[in-house]
């Protein structure tokens, strides 16, 4: 804390309005601090990496054992697909948070924009997971399929899925890289000569110099890529849910479902950002960047997404409940009230009731721990929810026909499933920790820009923040 706050305190003045002000640093201080943390590799970091790598390796082994067992039985692959769905829902959606907040020009987004974009890199892992998941799909002939028997060679529909996923992965990497360019140039200029990291930064920054033209392109390009990313994310969620969830269940016709999954993605993506902020703040030494302002502000969209998620669920539920056709009754049994009731009600509790009950209280929103606890609950709920929506359809015996004749029993995960779920989620976190050493986890230039645009000044008898928004 510095400047105005101190001045006022020294003068013994009434500090009204200064209580919530974030600490004010200079651009240079931010740069030195973040680059310093970016370069340092602590034993704690190495230990975490080790554990994550081990878990991921176990997951990979489990996956190989599964693959050797063959791809004919879809129920074997339920948990694998659910993990893929969860990673897409939680991690791959995180860049939407930064893209969306960039559109609204919210200043509080600045410190967290980067970490959200780093999470998007998980799309690369999902891209790899799509290949075996496609192999596990039954023949599309005789069942509903998002490509509608498009006249093409057998493998071709799968190609569309791969192209969509690859485009998303490409876009997220481009989004991250583009917004990291100024910070990579910063690392190139400030790391000691001869260090490998400096050479990497130098290579990745591609000789960027912050000219007027560069900043213009960065600003415009960032918005454009962000918009593209959001639209592609909608498409990918539609494909995933149509191929591995809706398409597996005869007569399950639910036009809401892809939108429901997108909303789940927004909710879980926001939650991932909150939990990551908490981790970086508590164990990474970044408490100056992730303050009350960030947690308080992000709690509101998290609450809104939780409500909207419930709304979307209810809208689709009431349509089936009221319709009461035999296949709809079976569908409700399969998804909500039958053997999968416990997972369903747990996710309802964790993803809707708990966030609602907590977040209507401003003191809880306006804290560090409150939003973190809610976000962690949301993530757990999202995992359970994705297991429900993917494992139940994949566990059906018969994916063909006109009606859902039988309600599938609950499928417990076996040891391989658990290893796969834990392993691949660890893999996503491992990817984050690795990339966080490739690009700084806090966007130095964005925070610096914010410092120039937010001032504290006296307004008659109190202090206020003056917030500028450049167009």
């Amino acid at each position: 804390m510095h400047s105005k706050g101190h001045e006022a305190a020294h003068a013994g003045e009434h500090l009204h309005g200064l209580e919530d002000m974030p600490p004010i640093m200079t651009h240079e201080e931010v740069s030195r601090d973040v680059i310093g943390r970016f370069t340092a590799v602590s034993w704690r970091y190495m230990a975490v990496m080790g554990v994550l790598a081990l878990l991921f390796a176990i997951g990979l082994v489990a996956f190989v054992i599964r693959a050797v067992g063959g791809f004919d039985d879809t129920s074997d692959w339920g948990y694998f697909v659910a993990t893929m769905g969860f990673l897409t829902t939680a991690f791959v959606s995180a860049p939407i948070v930064s893209a969306g907040l960039r559109f609204t020009k919210a200043h509080w987004r600045r410190p967290l924009a980067r970490l959200a974009e780093i999470h998007g890199v998980t799309a690369l892992l999902v891209l790899l997971m799509v290949i075996p998941a496609l192999a596990a799909l039954p023949d599309p002939v005789g069942r509903a399929d998002i490509w509608f028997d498009f006249p093409s060679p057998d493998w071709f529909p799968h190609m569309w899925t791969m192209i969509a996923m690859a485009a998303l992965a490409l876009c997220t990497v481009a989004l991250l890289w583009m917004h990291a360019l100024p910070d990579l140039a910063n690392a190139r200029d400030h790391l000691p000569q001869g260090k490998v990291r400096r050479n990497v930064a130098s290579f990745l920054s591609m000789g960027v110099i912050g000219t007027v033209r560069f900043w213009r392109v960065l600003y415009r390009g960032g918005l454009l890529l962000g918009a593209l990313y959001i639209m592609m994310y909608m498409a990918v969620q539609t494909i995933l849910s149509a191929e591995w969830s809706l398409g597996m269940v005869p007569s399950w016709k639910d036009s809401m479902f892809p939108a429901y999954q997108v909303m789940k993605g927004l909710q879980a993506g926001t939650a991932v950002v909150v939990v990551t902020m908490f981790v970086l703040r508590t164990w990474g030494g970044y408490e100056k960047y992730f303050g009350i302002d960030q947690f308080w502000s992000i709690a509101k969209p998290l609450l809104a997404f939780s409500l909207l998620w419930f709304y979307m669920w209810f809208a689709s539920f009431i349509t089936f409940w009221y319709g009461r056709q035999p296949s709809e009754i079976n569908l409700i049994q399969m998804l909500f009230l039958g053997p999968w009731a416990v997972p369903f009600f747990s996710s309802m509790l964790l993803n809707f009731l708990f966030p609602l009950g907590m977040f209507i209280w401003n003191p809880i929103r306006k804290s560090i721990v409150g939003p973190t606890v809610v976000a962690a609950a949301v993530l757990l709920g999202a995992l359970i929810d994705q297991v429900r929506v993917y494992v139940a359809p994949m566990s059906l015996n018969n994916h063909f026909g006109h009606v859902l004749a039988e309600v599938p029993v609950f499928q417990w995960p076996n040891i391989l499933d658990i290893a796969i779920v834990v392993g691949f989620i660890s893999g996503a976190i491992l990817l984050f920790t690795l990339v966080a050493k490739l690009v700084p986890v806090v966007s130095i230039w964005e925070v610096g820009e914010g410092l120039r645009l937010v001032k504290v000044r006296k307004f008659h008898n109190r202090w206020v923040r003056v917030i500028a928004k450049s167009h």
């Binding site: 909608m234 409500l307 349509t319 009221y322 307004f459």
Partner: protein, 456 residues
């Protein structure tokens, strides 16, 4: 959104209350014409009550036609008002100030108008009461709360009450301004409405909280209202209506048409009430950018509706989509709707020049709403024209002149009510404008003064 000129509080009072204290000739002329149209509308309503629904074009198998389409249309328009003002208040967007009240008022009036439609459509409106309100203790016949036709009035009454209270609460400080300036009977009336408001810090603080808290409470209501309206269709088993995505699809469609209507209204207000100092290019630009996002979201759900109608390739669904997409006149109505409410607007809104032109934005916003009216018609009527099992052809529907007069009359009614409101109350909240003026600042970065706002 930053202020271009410094205006004193007194000047804001003078300019924005001009029409309240002085009746312009244009107002008298327009209100008289609209009044005449409203009279025609009400007479037609009377005629319809007297003669019965045979005057409409409704006949087997199509029993929901223009009146219900118009109901959905006006409920849709009513959505933007509160949505715009609530979301912008919650996000503390500075550019909300000149548009919140007009938008909220439009909500109230279009909702009242919408409410008239099912009343007319019922044929014998007095009979609505016993299936909506639980009052019939004598005979022991009670409303069936399991019917979506009971959810509907519940939701709309809630929404109408809430949005009226919302408008009223924010008007109190402005009543005080008029009270302080008026004389005679006017002073007495506005004084009573202002309830001796004085503008203490306590009262202003509560006004601020009211804006946020009521917004937070009304937003979920707003989402529920159009969802419930959509369930009138969605929970039935009619192919083409029994679609789970209907609720959010209706809501976001309502936002698209409603925000466009706010745009139309803002531009008209600027022109009629001479509000050039308060409504600028930046405001319609911001609305335009918001509309791009809304239109894309709407398109996603629209697309899901089509994709999943064809999903299981059942003939009941595919034949009816053939009717919608490939059989005239529905096919060209569909084309018009899609081009008017999505293709033309979204592609033009991408250009900054268009977004900042009042003329362009005015006509585009009108186009969107023509398109959205057609969209509702296409959603409602074709699924009811179900093919007869033995004649293998679709039923038909053509609106009668009575229905056309009623639909046209609703536009006159809403415009009439808005102009009446604008005569007696300021359409732009005075105190919000004054507050906005006060909070303008600049931050100097190098050689530029970047426009800024003071935030608490």
């Amino acid at each position: 959104m930053y202020y271009r000129r410094t205006v004193s509080d007194a000047q804001i009072n003078r300019e924005l209350l001009d029409v309240v204290f002085r009746t312009p000739v244009w107002w008298v002329v327009i209100v008289s014409i609209l009044g005449l149209l409203v009279a025609v509308f009400m007479s037609t309503f009377g005629l319809l009550m007297n003669q019965g629904l045979g005057l409409t074009g409704l006949n087997r198998p199509v029993f929901w036609g223009f009146l219900i389409t118009n109901f959905i249309f006006w409920v849709g328009i009513s959505h933007a008002g509160v949505m715009i003002s609530a979301i912008l208040r919650l996000s503390q967007a500075e550019w909300r100030r000149p548009m919140v009240r007009a938008a909220e008022t439009m909500t109230v009036f279009s909702l009242m108008t919408a409410l008239l439609m099912p009343v007319m459509h019922a044929g014998r409106p007095w009979r609505i009461f016993y299936w909506v309100f639980p009052y019939d203790f004598a005979r022991g016949i009670w409303p069936d709360v399991r019917s979506p036709l009971v959810w509907d009035p519940t939701a709309i009454i809630t929404y109408l009450t809430s949005s009226s209270l919302f408008v009223f609460t924010a008007l109190i400080p402005d009543f005080a301004v008029i009270r302080d300036r008026a004389t005679g009977w006017r002073k007495a009336i506005y004084g009573a409405l202002a309830m001796n408001w004085r503008g203490t810090p306590q009262q202003w603080k509560l006004q601020g909280i009211a804006g946020i808290l009521l917004s937070a409470l009304i937003l979920p209501v707003f989402v529920s209202v159009h969802s419930i309206v959509s369930w009138d269709f969605g929970v039935s088993l009619v192919p083409g209506w029994h679609v789970s995505v209907f609720a959010p699809y209706f809501v976001i469609g309502a936002v698209l048409s409603g925000v466009s209507a706010v745009l139309t209204l803002m531009i008209l207000m600027r022109f009629l009430f001479k509000l050039q100092n308060y409504i600028w290019e930046e405001h319609i630009d911001a609305l335009g950018r918001l509309l791009i996002v809304v239109a894309i979201g709407w398109h996603f759900l629209f697309w899901l509706d089509i994709v999943f109608a064809l999903w299981t390739a059942e003939s009941v669904e595919t034949t009816y989509w053939q009717l919608r997409l490939l059989t005239p006149p529905w096919s060209w109505l569909f084309l018009l709707f899609y081009v008017f409410s999505f293709v033309i607007p979204t592609s033009l809104w991408l250009f900054r020049k268009v977004r900042r032109s009042f003329v362009w934005m005015f006509w585009i916003s009108i186009l969107v709403n023509i398109g959205m009216f057609l969209e509702r018609l296409i959603i409602i009527v074709p699924p009811l024209m179900n093919k007869d099992a033995f004649t293998f052809q679709f039923g038909t529907y053509r609106p009668s002149i009575v229905e056309l007069i009623i639909v046209g009359g609703t536009f006159a009614l809403v415009a009439f009510l808005l102009l009446m409101f604008g005569k007696f109350f300021p359409l732009i909240p005075l105190w919000e404008e004054k507050e906005g003026q006060r909070l303008v600042e600049t931050v100097k970065v190098g050689n530029v003064e970047v426009p800024a706002m003071i935030k608490e």
